[in-house]
Amino acid sequence: MKEKFTIALAGNPNCGKTTIFNNLTGARQKVGNWPGVTVEKKEGKLRHKEYDLKVVDLPGTYSLTPFSIEEITARDFILNENPDIVVNIIDSSNLERSLFLAIQILELGRPVIFVLNMADVAQAKGIKIDEKKLSQLLGLPVVFTVGNKNKGIETLVEEAIREIHRFKEGKEGRDIKYSQEIEGCISKLESCILESKIHIDTVLRWNAIKILEDDKIVKQKFIEKEPVAAQIIFQEAIVCRDRIHNLFEDDFEIVLTDDRYGVIAGVIKEIVSNLARERIDMSRNIDLVLTDRFFGIPVFVFFIWAMFQLTFSLGEYPMGWIESGVSLLSQSVDSLLPASLLKDLLLDGIIAGIGSVIIFLPNILILFFCIALFEDTGYMARTAFLMDRVMHASGLHGKSFIPMLMGFGCNVPAIMATRTLESKKDRILTILMTPFMSCSARLPVYIVLAGSFFGNRAGTVIFSLYLTGIIVAIASGRMLRTILFKGEDAPFIMELPPYRMPMLKSLLIHMWDRSKMFLKKMGGVILLGSIIIWCLSSFPRNISYSTDYDTQIVFVKSNYMQDILTADIKETERLNQQLTLILGDIKNKKEQERVSKSYIGKIGKFLEPVFLPIGIGWQASVALVTGFVAKEVVVSTMGVLYGVGDMGGQALERALKNSGMTPLSALSMMVFVLLYVPCFATVMMIYKETSAKWAGFNLVYTTLVAWGGSFLVYQTGVILGLS
């Protein structure tokens, strides 16, 4: 029987916990170079010799006083789940601040081991740390690691297991002693808690300190156990706090913080020798340009522009390959299979549906690659720094900008990323705004529509759509802020991490995860959607047509045949072309009438009155409705509805042009796609992160905004005579 232990990885944000976690467990969790990449605890398993280890990666925190949700998650885990050991990961190049949390974790009286990560960075900075001395001073094992190079991980595990055993054999954590006055208060409260006979499952000293610090959560626990006795303890705490306040003219927690830093300063003095010589700080040099007074913002705009430019221009080539692959497939299916309902399903349903979406895989991958690059280098945090002023002017928080930028990739992780925001108001507000950021799933719709109707100007049109999204997001933020979320702005405090070379592995992991997700979507939602749409559009089979198309075809054919027979060679060619055109036209008309009389046609007709004022025909209306499942489905539905399965590349484009859609209605539709209800997954994420109320609000609000926006675009166009 193997022994089972739980190891919790804790530490400051951006100190490399997830990198170590990935190294330990072989997992592929997302890492990045900005504080707050990990917002949820993640679990992984590791087998080491005769032990089964469960490793838990916690979100980063600056202290055990919780401010934002991610920090509460981390603290709750350490306190309530009783991990066998807390592995406190410390950024060696940032020792002083890291030790602040470390000391608090130490106070919990649990087995702790310190991991001095990024040892190479510290060394490069000329910082020399005496780990033996640190281990001696604080009474716990200390190991060095270099996370991104997978160094020291083995030692980490071994030391951790050894420390667990030491505690099992009766070792106790060492207390950190503070100044006399503080210690006086602590011991007074300790005896007070002992007298009350309240049973506590955590270390006495820690509880005493937390009550003195006026920690609401700890106090609540006491009240739940013994309301009366708890009040007596709290009374004593108030007396102590008052005494400290009179002595130092400051709150207890502030005085204690100062004290903790005092202890840390002492420790640092003992263990760190700075080999002085300030080396050239690359990070600072990079920032000389990237956050410069004059260049900062233009460079930022350039990066965003370059990101989209790359997405479109570089993505075009693989897009062409996939497209020809799809048309090759449909042609071979067409020629191999005999005419049947199954063939129709395969060709017009599945291949048309999926084929019209899968070609966008390269674009999406490039977009995600760029965003991952922003995250891994450390530029992401800078964007918040650059944009805080703008965001603040619209009543938002600079940190809101990170989720918004991520929203260009996918809204779902973007909404998760709002967890780094400390104020609940800002969080909900950002969550409500993020869906307006045009995600990569909407891109195919734009490319199809803008490509079909705007030709050379497609790029400009798409860029202005993205811009519109941002403007609508910020305007909504401003509006909601003044109506629903009144009150003080939350302060902006954010660490700006040094720039780091992105790890290729992490970038690849990120892209692989994305492709997997996209392909899963293909095989799941989009496949299913395509089949359903095809079914709805193919049945009922027996439709009475308004005109007899078949006789018409026969009639036209025989007419032309006669002409062709009598004509000379040149004339024959001309007539043949004419015939094909006319026949195609008739077939198209037949198909359109058939679809319009199918189930989906009936649904479309039912929806028509709603979409008519914004210039969107019934087919597109249906596509929009199905887009709720996933935005790519809009394209696949159009693919099925316009029956492009057997027509090869550029097919949808031609079909759209033939369907009577104008550039104006295409624009109106794109605006609608940009603004309307986010996909099902996003709405569920909103529900999960906020409440049903806000998810519902988002549904209604985005629909109204989208309809209003499209109405404005379309009707203005009509008045200007653009239709």
């Binding site: 940032n94 601040r97 502030i254 100062d258 920032d287 918040a384 002023r389 405090i493 954010m494």
Partner: protein, 324 residues
């Protein structure tokens, strides 16, 4: 000096005997007593000296004699401020000016050629022929200044004095009242008038503020060295260390300092502290964002950004430009 004094006595004898001044011996005694005393003396002090010499002369006579001495150029009568007249030796050909401490009353003699020349120049420029002049600088002597250097309460500050607001005593109530008037720690103020029933009128920037006695008593101020003010105004960007704390908001790019105080609303303040922005830490202003907000700071060796508005909560002292 001895020689001068002997010469003066000789001249005195000559002159007074020539003029046929009465009671010559007694008057000579007055002169002797006066010459024994250095610096600036009052009648009373001369009387004491005469008594110490074992003589007995009545005050009117001494007064009369000193007037004579003044007339013949052996003494100068000076009246500083609103005090009693004082006398000093007048050594012909040797001119000096005075600095008078308004606190302890001590008088400092000084001579500055530049001033002397400047006076002649000024007079000349106005077409004025200068015969003689008196120049007195009123202020607080170095000894008194040293005593006061640390902190004074506002109501005790002298009129015309330039001061820096250092501390508000008493509760938050008081603090908010003062700050609602636009006065905050680190402000430079000037006393417009003081003393009318304890009321103090101060100038803070371009504002006139009237503080009641109760309030003035609770504000600690630090007198500012006029030379330092001059330096401050002259080269604000110089590398001089500012003694006066400023808020982080007022710091410029490239300046560093030591955090003196972190104020602000509870949770926010704790967050700052937990991220390492605590009292006594060294802080460096790396840069302002392109839109002037937020600020990028370096503290404890790492970079952090804060909004300007929030930076106003952090008081920094010993601010200076970091040497490259």
């Amino acid at each position: 000096m001895g020689n001068t004094h002997e010469r003066e006595k000789k001249q005195f004898k000559q002159l007074f005997q020539q003029q046929g001044v009465d009671q010559f011996d007694l008057r000579f005694m007055v002169l002797e007593a006066f010459l024994k005393l250095e610096h600036h003396v009052t009648i009373q002090e001369i009387m004491e000296q005469i008594r110490a010499d074992g003589e007995k002369i009545d005050e009117d006579f001494v007064l009369n004699s000193l007037e004579l001495l003044c007339r013949f150029g052996f003494a100068n009568q000076i009246e500083f401020d609103d005090k009693k007249p004082q006398y000093e030796h007048r050594h012909l050909g040797l001119h000096h000016d005075h600095m008078v401490c308004t606190k302890c009353g001590s008088i400092l003699e000084f001579k500055d050629e530049a001033i002397e020349k400047q006076q002649l120049k000024v007079a000349d420029a106005y077409g004025f022929h200068m015969l003689q002049h008196r120049m007195e600088i009123y202020g607080i002597c170095s000894v008194c200044m040293e005593e006061r250097r640390s902190l004074v309460l506002l109501h005790k500050a002298k009129q015309g004095e330039k001061l820096i607001v250092k501390e508000f005593e008493a509760g938050k109530n008081m603090q908010s009242r003062v700050s609602s008037m636009g006065l905050k720690i680190g402000d430079l103020i000037e006393i417009v008038s003081s003393g009318f029933g304890g009321q103090v009128v101060i100038a803070a920037g371009e504002n006139r503020l009237v503080l009641g006695k109760g309030m003035a008593e609770k504000i600690s101020v630090q007198p500012l060295d006029p030379i330092k003010i001059m330096k401050l105004e002259k080269n604000k960007d110089s590398e001089d260390i500012l003694d006066t704390p400023v808020t982080l908001k007022q710091m410029k790019k490239g300046q560093e300092g030591i955090i003196r105080k972190v104020s602000g609303e509870g949770v926010f303040r704790r967050r700052l502290l937990e991220m390492g922005i605590n009292r006594g830490s060294k802080i460096y202003v790396e840069k302002y964002a392109p839109l002037k907000d937020p600020i990028e700071l370096v503290i404890k060796g790492y970079h952090i950004s804060l909004r300007v508005e929030e930076a106003a909560n952090i008081l920094v002292e010993n601010v200076r430009f970091k040497k490259k």
